[in-house]
Symmetry: C2
Subunit: 143 residues, 2 copies
């Protein structure tokens, strides 16, 4: 288990921002809840005022594969959009969110970012920093 | 100038959560961008999955009083809603946001929360922790 603290987070936001900057996103969409804190700091670091949210909730069914329900789908009016989450774990959340966003906004360009990714994720974000090899306890999750 | 760091933030989330818990909110609305990180941690601490965002942007006009533009007004389906921002400074953002949300959702009960408040604020959140007597540099703003 890794404790992911604020100091590491701030360094990671700086690194991610320098990777993302050339894309020049006009809107950040946070995948809630995991991506909210990252979206906030990236929006400050990259000076992007337009931050929106899309919600993804997993429901488990009798230990079978869970279902992901996507809600609060934002209406977008800009052309370059960055979608962020804390981790691409199974990758299913990113995959489903991006399918919906692209269907709804065929003329916008989307890129994705996360701090962590798993090698086994079926979706690899365009901007990603660190491979997750064990359970990560994010500072925004532990109270 | 006060540097507001992550350790103090985590203590403050615990304090705010214990004040808020009896209200039992079903939805948290973050006032973007300032309230995003707080909304995320409160949603974890209080175990509230439904987090939404409303955007408030100030525009200055030739050093006159600024205009606040409220966008991304969420559609709400729950009855107890907590609206959060990092600080009630002038209080104008909270005031305008709450006017719109209450007009649009007359049957919902709203409460508001912020970490900091100014004594001079025209809007005092229901749950607030600390009086802001000088400029506060939040850790999510400094990169």
């Amino acid at each position: 288990m890794i404790e992911y603290d604020c100091k590491e987070f701030k360094r990671d936001v700086v690194s991610l921002s320098s990777d993302i900057r050339s894309f020049a996103p006009q809107t950040i969409i946070a995948i809630a809840r995991g991506g909210l804190t990252l979206a906030h700091s990236l929006s400050q670091s990259l000076d992007i005022r337009d931050v929106q949210v899309i919600s993804a909730v997993s429901y488990s069914h009798d230990k079978q594969l869970s279902t992901i329900k996507i809600t609060n789908i934002p209406t977008i009016s800009t052309s370059r959009i960055l979608v962020v989450d804390d981790i691409a774990d199974s990758g299913r959340t990113f995959k489903e969110v991006m399918t919906i966003l692209k269907e709804n906004n065929p003329s916008s360009e989307f890129k994705t970012a996360s701090i962590f990714y798993k090698k086994s994720s079926i979706f690899q974000p365009d901007f990603r920093l660190k491979e997750a090899k064990e359970w990560i306890e994010f500072f925004w999750e532990k109270f």
